[in-house]
Symmetry: C2
Subunit: 139 residues, 2 copies
């Protein structure tokens, strides 16, 4: 298990990059523009500390976040996402976003903090019971 | 500059440790009980990835967080906290919690995400204009 990033939502990408990079001193590592989903992801890190990243999520059609939506989630890579989710389920944790794709799952902390689990390396082959498992609530 | 931790507030420490450690698989690294301030800090990390930590803040007399108060802040160590704050101020960023103690400062991202800056190593000797600088708002 390895820490990957903390995701925060930003309403104005340029203003946020100005803050996080120009002002705070983080560096942009990579950027993904998703035309279809109308969002942009930008990954930042402190210079020389590229393993611990902040992910900025900019949804093109949203503006302004309140009620805690500015904070997104903590993300961790796991060795086996099915095993990780099974262990969480066995422990009574709701899998809000099951790993139907063998790659990504979301759960929530008792205080509603979203935790993203990502399969390390390649996605695992789709497998039941995950393939048929519906989403539960939000994350 | 180096990533230290992401802080989240928790309303029930035992329930949260059960989630983050027993269920999610993080490990408790250290714990500080502050009787006077009536709060407990617990630092967690993925096994083998101790440099990237999650800090749980449990205020003994608070219960339940909404409006985004469950998310606390991102924290970074800096080489010189006065230089870092001066650079931010020069760039037009409000120093919500100036480093009066030569050790700790807080600013906010454009979307209100709190960013904690911590002096690497020992605190610097107190110095003006920081010593007389008042807090601004919350962080």
């Amino acid at each position: 298990m390895k820490y990957l990033h903390t995701m925060v939502r930003v309403s104005d990408l340029e203003q946020s990059l100005d803050f996080y990079c120009n002002k705070l001193g983080l560096r942009e590592l990579r950027r993904h523009d998703h035309e279809a989903g109308r969002f942009t992801l930008v990954f930042l890190a402190a210079p020389g500390d590229e393993m611990a990243q902040v992910e900025l999520t900019h949804n093109w059609d949203e503006s302004g976040y309140d009620g805690g939506r500015n904070f997104g989630h903590l993300a961790y890579a796991v060795e086996d996402i099915y095993e990780a989710c099974q262990r969480l389920m066995d422990a009574g944790v709701t899998i809000n976003r099951p790993p139907r794709d063998g790659r990504m799952a979301f759960v929530r902390s008792p205080d509603g903090i979203s935790i993203e689990l990502l399969q390390r390396g390649q996605a695992l082959p789709p497998r039941e019971p995950w393939t048929s498992m519906p989403n539960v609530g939000q994350w």
